[in-house]
Amino acid sequence: MRGHRDLKWVCVAAVVAALVACLVPWEIVRLLAALPLAVFLPGYAIAAAAFGSQRLDPQRLAMLTLLCGLSLLCLGGIVLNYLPGGLRTVTWALLLLLVVFATARAAALRRGKPDGRRSGWKRPRLRGVDVACVVLAAAVAVGTLVFAYTPLPASKAVGYTALWMLPSKDAADPALKVGLISAEQGRRHYRLEARIGENGKPTRYHLALDPDEERVIEVPLNRPAGKKARVVVSLYDSERPHELYRRVTTWTAGSQPGEG
């Protein structure tokens, strides 16, 4: 690849990008490496290999880079699917590196000796006022994205509380896990009643939850083993204390969640 600066840079960039993608923990940094490694570098190298010494104008080169890069991503997973390791960070990085190196080498061989011609690409002349305009546009676009990605209050949307019940696997004695998830618009007070068996005495809990708060309580099953009993957990909202708000039920014996 001696003399073919573009191909040399593609290979070096691919190695650096692969290392960053595999070793760096921060998503945003990895994304900056992943995009060239996954799409642009292999796409460029494949296009270079296909066209050898033929110079492509920027429009066709851009289209071919994207076409080849995206096609490789669609097909690469199928290749990796049948190789040991499957689809993983390392296998993807290795596959893409392999493609970049192989096609860059093929491109260098097809091009032959560098002809010394300068690239047809001319850097556009930028004036201060244009740069200012584009920077302002970029600032507006970034601000727009930040604004769009910021959740806002919605007073008309109806909040809710979710009540759930599952067998507890962590408790030493048989017990049920009862959970409460608040997605209400403000802090709410609740009364929770758990009744085991038709004639059982209800156990009461008084709770207050803020929006997005979750609470899990363990309800012990003080029942003789083998006898089926219905467990009913009812939730009452303190604003309407006599009106049932939520209810979950189960049967203690044979009430393990199905294997579906």
């Binding site: 066209f51 669609c74 097909l75 690469g76 993983r88 806002l152 109806v158 209400e184």
Partner: protein
């Protein structure tokens, strides 16, 4: 010219030269347009009912300046290319800012599930409980998993970036294709802008779905064909590389697109023969693609026929019944979902009909122009056929079960229509008297075509964002179906659920569990009826389903509208009778989860 006039003209030139370049101003305009769209979406997400005028003004702020500049004569190829890229990405950004938190379009959670499964199992072909055919076409899941693996991003973010790249490829390829075929980058730029009038350009075509990736690949393959034809014998083999690579990618990504590619290549081969083109006939590529597509269908995606057969036979039966009066014609601008019908305002209907009118006039004038120029290129013939075919698909919109087939086919046929109409557009703004007026007429037509297309392709009530994630007391809370999905992902990730369409999709992604829905195992009937038949629940249990998600919201059966917060008063937030919920308690079944409108029943939890 007097010396005063020449001084004034010189001052004007000086002022223009000192000001920002048109491209820089257009970039700024597009950014402000996006801000307007984001603002209207934010108001809509707050649960309000903002006027859509501001939103459409934002869209026009992107479209019109680009259309104005791109249609000018003295614009360089490089600038036009940059404008086309800006156009594609800016309009894509409208969809991104509409749904910034998670996938809500009907097919998106299905494909996000496939990508997540590829990450979990480190392999493809993991099956899909809602749309099994998608698992046999893993191109999108493969590409997304590459970005997810290398960047550590979620399937949502990786998918948004991937579809953005696909959209960029689409507009660049269209530009290269149209430039090569017409020999004019001015016409090509205009044709790309007109293509945005396709009903699926703004929303459907950029959802995270396999067709959103395969269509750009198809267009790029066609562009490579056009280049190959023009490149001469020396470059025949060079262009064959991207053509073969792109074709293979299309075949493993989407069934219908691969068949569309076969049809296009066969048509091209026939046209080459008819016009006695001196260039090499593309029939070997047509055979190659046909063998590849059918081979893939037989080996890797053998359920494709089962999936497509009801779609096409239903469409044909529906056309037959509508034509012979055995069933009622579908009302235009009506989006039927369960027993709710959403209508489009009169003005919006007028804009859409105006768009079709402008396109038809453009088609007639364009065909006349092509005829006058004695165009003998195979691609021009192909585009003319496609343009004529587009108006055929409009008739399908009257048949209830065929309208979607017509709408989807239009995405492909509109490529030809955009090209033909661009001929007419260019003729309209040729040098001569009243040029300014004619240019204004062209820009107004383009605006109507783009907005009309968007209205035709996406329900009026769904153009703006709905609340999925809001803040309450300074913290974030999510809608009922999403909270359910996240709870399932945490507590019951390995279980199988029967649920309404919208809930089932959320259970797939972000929930990550398996869910069946719709007509499968009569789930739709079971959820909607007021009493149960003896065989219904045993049938669900017998098919391995462990839980049933009952949802009182009528929109829960609408995958495009059912994943948002409940806002009372809106017609789309009607509730089903309580009996639809109580029937499960009478069986009785254990209630595992209750969030008000949504209750999860444990199918095996019985006395």
């Amino acid at each position: 010219m007097s010396s005063r006039d020449s001084r004034a003209s010189g001052r004007r030139q000086g002022l223009l030269a000192a000001g920002p370049a048109p491209l820089a101003l257009i970039v700024l305009g597009a950014a402000v347009g996006l801000l307007l769209c984001a603002y209207t979406n934010a108001l809509s997400r707050e649960g309000g009912d903002p006027t859509q005028l501001v939103y459409w003004a934002g869209v026009l702020l992107i479209v019109v300046p680009i259309a104005a500049r791109i249609s000018m004569e003295d614009v360089s190829l490089r600038e036009r290319f940059a404008l086309v890229a800006l156009f594609g990405l800016s309009l894509y950004a409208i969809k991104v800012i509409r749904d910034p938190f998670l996938f809500t379009f009907p097919d998106e959670p299905i494909h996000a599930y496939n990508a997540n499964q590829a990450m979990i199992h480190h392999g493809l072909f993991n099956g899909n409980p809602i749309l099994p055919v998608t698992s046999g076409y893993p191109g999108l899941a493969s590409a997304t998993s590459a970005l997810m693996s290398l960047s550590g991003l979620s399937s949502f973010t990786a998918g948004v970036i991937l579809i953005g790249l696909a959209r960029l490829l689409l507009v660049l390829s269209l530009f290269v294709l149209f430039t090569r075929v017409s020999g004019s980058h001015r016409l090509a730029g205009l044709a790309v802008v007109i293509y945005a009038g396709s009903s699926n350009f703004l929303y459907w075509g950029v959802q995270y779905s396999y067709e959103s990736l395969s269509l750009p690949l198809l267009v790029a393959v066609l562009a490579a064909f056009a280049e190959r034809e023009a490149g001469g014998p020396k470059l025949l083999r060079s262009w064959a590389v991207p053509i073969v690579l792109g074709t293979m990618a299309v075949v493993v990504t989407h069934h219908l697109t691969s068949y569309a590619l076969v049809i296009v290549l066969v048509l091209l081969a026939v046209i080459y023969r008819l016009v006695r083109s001196p260039n090499p006939n593309p029939w070997p590529f047509a055979v190659f693609t046909a063998v590849l597509a059918s081979g893939w269908m037989l080996i890797a995606a053998d359920n494709t026929v089962d999936y497509l057969d009801p779609v096409f036979s239903g469409a044909i039966t529906s056309i037959w019944n509508t034509v012979f009066g055995e069933s009622e014609a579908r009302g235009l601008f009506e989006s039927a979902s369960t027993d709710l019908v959403y209508t489009t305002p009169f003005v919006a209907r007028l804009v859409t009909l105006g768009a079709v009118g402008f396109l038809f006039l453009g088609f007639l004038a364009g065909i006349r122009e092509v005829w006058a120029r004695r165009e003998n290129k195979p691609f021009v013939w192909l585009f003319c056929l496609g343009a004529a075919g587009f108006f055929g698909t409009l008739a399908l919109r009257f048949a209830p079960e065929a309208w979607e087939t017509g709408n989807r086919a239009a995405m492909y046929l509109f490529i030809g229509l955009a090209f033909v109409v661009a001929y007419a557009a260019l003729r309209l703004i040729r040098e001569g008297p009243r040029l300014l007026l004619r240019r204004a007429a062209l820009l107004a037509s383009v605006a109507v075509v783009v907005i009309g297309g968007a209205i035709a392709g996406w329900p009026w009530d769904s153009q703006l964002a709905q609340p999925t994630r809001i803040t309450a007391d300074g913290v974030e809370i999510e809608s009922e179906p999403i909270t359910l999905a996240r709870w399932i992902g945490e507590q019951l990730p390995r279980r199988k659920f029967a649920a309404a369409d919208a809930d089932a999709r959320m259970i797939l992604a972000p929930g990550g569990a398996r869910a069946k829905t719709g007509e499968a195992l009569a789930i739709k009937t079971i959820l909607e009826e007021s009493s149960l038949l003896n065989w219904e629940l045993p049938s669900l249990r017998g098919n391995g389903l462990g839980y049933l998600v009952a949802d009182r919201r009528k929109v829960s059966t609408d995958p495009g509208r059912g994943s948002f917060f409940y806002v009372p008063g809106s017609p789309k937030h009607a509730l089903r009778p309580l009996a639809t919920m109580h029937k499960f308690g009478e069986v009785p079944l254990g209630r595992t989860y209750d969030s008000g409108n949504i209750v999860v029943f444990d199918l095996r939890d019985r006395p």
